[in-house]
Symmetry: C2
Subunit: 141 residues, 2 copies
DNA sequence: CTTGGTGCAAAGGGTTTGCAACTTA
DNA sequence: TAAGTTGCAAACCCTTTGCACCAAG
């Protein structure tokens, strides 16, 4: 995992203790974390609400993106430079993979969602592809 | 929408009033419904819990399948014959489309999820593709 | 009679909101 | 000082569970 120095102030976010810790957590994992994961893994105890608000502000500033976990579930992952490339605001056309065994949800940054030809008159704005199965690590056992 | 006579007893489900109404609702819509949609659209008032249990039994009998709504959201739609084809239990490799304008989530039965080549040692069991945008009806305006 | 379905109440989990206190630019 | 951030409490979903009652095979 690349640990390039992401700075909160670059995203118009005050570098508060909670934000720095949450950012650190997200940077130190190469898979997506749920709100609960984050809340429990923080070394300092921050209020649950603060974590929610932290994630919300990260989202609105484009620092992280939502990741489909299972059907119905949500996790969060850092946006890579790829997300910020291109003219349009944000690109998240990569595939998300959830491992049924270890439960980890990873962004397959290099696997892109193929373009789908939709029926007549349907226009696409965004797409999310979640693949469930067994990940590389669990398959090695 | 095809109204072919789906029989609850074919799915080992007793044809109770609640189940018949819920099935009727699902049959009369060509888009997926959430638990709340169903609860509110039932002509007779059934307990919320009963609707939940009805959906759960429909799911376990393979009469309906879960549909990704937004990220984090769940709706339900009838399984078509396509689902029951093939050797394996169930196939839901079609694309789901959520319209940002009318809010309807439809099963694009004919649009299949393309096979994705995963990185080394990843094995796929299931996949879900949700496309958000504007549907054919809303685009005609 | 025995199984399964329903309703009601309650509990549980996740998320949001209001407000007062605090921090910091 | 003014704006942004936090903690606490409470409110809101949405969903599940326990239990007693009812209905149907």
């Amino acid at each position: 995992m690349e640990h390039k120095a992401l700075s909160l102030s670059d995203f118009d976010l005050r570098p508060t203790p909670c934000r720095m810790e949450v950012l650190g957590l997200l940077q130190s994992h190469d898979y997506a974390l749920s709100q609960g994961d984050i809340e429990h893994q923080l070394s300092s105890q921050f209020d649950r609400v603060t974590v929610y608000r932290t994630l919300k502000s990260f989202l609105s500033q484009g620092l992280i993106h939502k990741v489909l976990d299972d059907i119905g579930g949500i996790k969060y992952a850092l946006c890579k430079e790829l997300c910020h490339q291109g003219g349009h605001a944000h690109q998240h056309d990569h595939v998300h993979f959830k491992c049924d065994q270890c439960g980890q949800t990873t962004c397959l940054e290099l696997v892109h969602i193929p373009s789908i030809s939709l029926p007549e008159n349907f226009t696409k704005k965004e797409s999310n592809l979640l693949i469930q199965g067994v990940c590389n690590l669990c398959n090695q056992v």
